[in-house]
């Protein structure tokens, strides 16, 4: 027994070579630490360590009023900031049983889809950059600026708007809103095939993404991997189809599902989702009804005692807001079920047996935004 232990130590079989990726690393998209045990260049085990941006948002919301908590979920998943905002507003409006004007629901859905396209563009540039294709960084961000121009004209801010309040909006949108969206759609429909030609059929990209990091449908359901990452494995989880909110029950769009579950499948799902989002925008942009931009709400909101749950589909998956109220003007407990928290932990299963460069490709395809994990 003792001789065996000594022999193992001499041969180095007992020891794992452990390296740290992060928390400061160009490709972890935020502050996330991967503790990687290696054998040569093959990964034996990956353990993600989070908490480097844990700001205590859920505790902070317990001392703010319902109109003040709108600003905090924005900063969780800042690339779908509008959708996060909308989730909290919908939950509060459901609790108060407020009838929101038609105009507000239409514009909220339009802004959701614009936000989804902007977020997928940023994902595309970061994914290309991680794989070494620096051109995608410049193309993607150049086109994303057009959407940010539309936001800036109406709200004054590019990334984080906080434009939704319970009951509607803070003020009405700019009169040139519809024209700008139509211009953007014509511009972007020419650019999206360029993205395909650049990256999708590139031989290096295909070698690095086909059959890498395969996620089975069972695992996706077990681990709660939603959004495009789950749909790339065939898990039909689009909340816009299951429990429609806004105007989604009245527009036609497809839910994109693929079966392979590898990095290339998740990539293709997101590119196809950009096309679907443009289809939704084209159906909605000409039909915005006139009306008020907000329902009449009291100055200080008090929710009735009880528990309220709302699910929405952000660009990365399913966000659920759970508000527990005891009748006061602040929530008693608010819980954000964030999509990235569930999407993160599958990475230890997906990356086993692959190389470090594949770990970068897999984490890029899961599209993680780290402040959403830590809240």
């Amino acid at each position: 027994m003792q001789e065996e232990i000594v022999k193992n130590i001499i041969l180095g079989e007992d020891e794992d070579y452990i390296i740290n990726m992060g928390p400061q690393h160009p490709s972890t998209h935020g502050v996330l630490r991967f503790e990687v045990s290696l054998q040569g260049e093959r990964i034996k085990k990956v353990v993600p360590h989070c908490g480097y941006i844990h700001r205590g948002i859920e505790k902070m919301c317990e001392r703010d009023t319902y109109a003040q908590i709108i600003h905090l979920p924005d900063r969780m998943d800042y690339l779908s900031a509008h959708i996060n905002n909308e989730a909290v507003c919908l939950c509060v409006e459901k609790a108060l049983e407020v009838d929101v004007p038609e105009r507000v629901t239409y514009i909220r859905t339009i802004l959701d889809e614009l936000n989804r396209i902007a977020s997928h563009q940023l994902w595309w540039c970061a994914m290309g950059m991680d794989m070494g294709a620096l051109t995608t960084f410049f193309y993607g961000l150049r086109d994303r600026e057009k959407i940010l121009d539309i936001f800036e004209e109406s709200f004054g801010s590019r990334l984080i708007h906080s434009f939704n309040t319970p009951g509607g909006f803070m003020h009405d949108i700019h009169p040139g809103f519809q024209k700008r969206i139509k211009e953007f759609i014509t511009y972007f429909r020419q650019k999206l095939p360029e993205y395909d030609r650049l990256l999708t059929n590139n031989v290096i990209f295909r070698e690095r993404s086909i059959d890498i990091g395969t996620l089975s449908k069972d695992d996706a359901i077990q681990y709660g991997v939603t959004g495009p990452s789950g749909r790339g494995s065939g898990f039909s989880c689009d909340v816009r189809k299951i429990e429609p909110y806004g105007v989604y029950s009245r527009v036609e769009f497809n839910e994109i599902l693929m079966t392979e579950g590898d990095v290339m499948a998740r990539y293709k799902v997101r590119i196809a989702e950009m096309y679907e989002s443009m289809r939704i925008l084209e159906q909605l942009v000409d039909n915005i009804p006139a009306g008020d931009y907000s329902a009449k709400m009291k100055a200080v909101l008090r929710l009735p005692a009880g528990e309220f749950f709302q699910r929405v589909e952000t660009a990365r998956g399913e966000l659920a807001v759970f508000i527990v109220s005891d009748g006061n003007k602040s929530p008693y407990r608010i819980k954000f079920r964030s999509p990235n928290f569930s999407n993160l932990f599958i990475i230890s299963k997906l990356a086993e047996g692959f190389k470090i460069a594949d770990l970068v490709a897999i984490s890029g395809s899961l599209d993680l935004v780290i402040p959403d994990i830590d809240r």
Partner: protein, 153 residues
């Protein structure tokens, strides 16, 4: 077949006669006694007419004299949703059975609840803190106060 709240309620009553059903305007909500909890969850997942295989969210609420664990479950085949609750009365040493062997995502949600509330999960494969340091308190409890780090408005 997707079951409506009424038929779900009758089905739950046959499985757990002691359950109570608080009023909830959205989904069916039930509070299950602690002893039968794990077996009930296994039934929920494997019964062919229920098939609750996707755990949406797992969290805890601190009601000052007891804790309440809240589980939101849905079925990907039938699309019905249910809210499951378990009450924990022991404030000094709160414990409940883990469900991470039934739904894998619960492993990490339970670690987060342990980190923020201090509730221990029995038979959890790897119960350690997720976000905060090992010797920090449990911030989401209602009696938590940290003068050195919090500036309270």
């Amino acid at each position: 077949m997707r079951m409506e709240n009424n038929s779900l309620r009758q089905r739950m009553e046959t499985l757990v006669p002691d359950a109570t059903f608080p009023i909830n305007s959205q989904y069916l909500e039930l509070v299950v006694p602690d002893g039968l909890f794990h077996e009930f969850c296994l039934n929920l997942k494997t019964s062919p007419d229920l098939l609750f295989d996707y755990l949406i969210s797992l969290t805890a609420i601190d009601w000052k004299d007891h804790y309440m664990m809240v589980y939101h479950l849905t079925s990907t085949t039938f699309r019905h949703t249910v809210v499951l609750k378990v009450r924990i009365d022991n404030r000094e040493n709160p414990q409940v059975e883990t469900v991470s062997d039934i739904w894998k995502t619960a492993e990490f949600h339970e670690r987060e609840v342990f980190d923020l509330f201090g509730i221990r999960f029995l038979h959890h494969p790897d119960l350690r803190r997720l976000f905060l340091d090992d010797d920090y308190g449990f911030p989401l409890r209602k009696d938590f106060a940290d003068e050195s780090r919090m500036i309270v408005k």
